[in-house]
Symmetry: C2
Subunit: 154 residues, 2 copies
DNA sequence: ATCCCTGCAAAGGGTTTGCAGACGC
DNA sequence: GCGTCTGCAAACCCTTTGCAGGGAT
């Protein structure tokens, strides 16, 4: 499952910072490490809380700043699941995938389908466009009767 | 191009309001009309400004309220193009479509591809999910050299 | 007459910004 | 030591909420 190691990720970030002539601050590495110790979709505030509990004292400003860098160097991907809120996930060493979001329990499932690339190729050709990334989300209702999250629905 | 007429749209809304036992206020119909006189992606504030210039005096609260109703009865669709901001477009009489967003000029293009439904079917089967809607966006850079919007890029 | 809907303004939540001090280089 | 990065808090933007008055039924 874990198809990366933390040193590899850090060295990629390291190189990125050097290339861009940015400073290698402790905060940036602590944030990177925290992210790669999670395996969920998290938002900036989740990170803030998680970091605070580790008795570090990293501000939201730094978190947002660092997330921008990590997204830029492809170590983290950024998503919006239709709620005007940004969520992130680690991405190095994990297959590209898309998401399935349940309206009733907010569960997020992941899937891959190569056909999306065929669509992408077509679109690039037809419109004269260089696609950098895509976002495909399916929204609906899971049919899992045991689903705990469903309690939440009013 | 215009494959709807305003009366039809109004009567759909009318029926919806009756079914839900909601009141038929002037404001609601004025907003619906304003939306169907546009042919772009707009946000709540665009509507607010547009309505103000018609010397109506419709508040943001009413606009947000009405947009929720119109989305609920499928006369308007709601999107997020990766900027934590919601945009809308009229949807009755227009083919379902997905979007292509240019990072450099913010242009939004539209396309249809039936393969997305194949992916959807597969996902529903595999995960036991009833998909209600999907959102597929491609982000990239248009290769249009004459593109006016590109000036905006810093 | 009821009570839902409206306008207004304030509050809310997530994100960005400004600034003075800290620290990587 | 220079100049960037940080923490903090205020500002910001979009959206939601509370409330009193108004209009649909």
């Amino acid at each position: 499952m874990k198809i990366y190691n933390l040193d590899k990720v850090k060295s990629i970030f390291n190189r990125y910072l050097e290339d861009k002539k940015l400073r290698k601050t402790n905060e940036r590495y602590i944030i990177l490490e925290d992210i790669y110790n999670r395996n969920d979709h998290f938002d900036a505030d989740d990170l803030f809380i998680s970091l605070k509990s580790r008795s570090t004292r990293i501000s939201r400003a730094t978190i947002y700043n660092t997330l921008d860098l990590l997204v830029d160097c492809n170590l983290v991907s950024r998503h919006q699941f239709g709620k005007n809120k940004t969520v992130y996930e680690r991405s190095y060493g994990f297959a590209q995938h898309d998401h399935l979001i349940c309206y009733e329990c907010d569960k997020v499932l992941e899937f891959c389908d190569p056909r999306i690339h065929n669509i992408q190729n077509m679109v690039e050709e037809i419109f004269g466009f260089n696609v950098v990334k895509h976002s495909l989300n399916f929204y609906g209702v899971c049919t899992d009767q045991q689903c705990e999250g469903k309690k939440k629905v009013e």
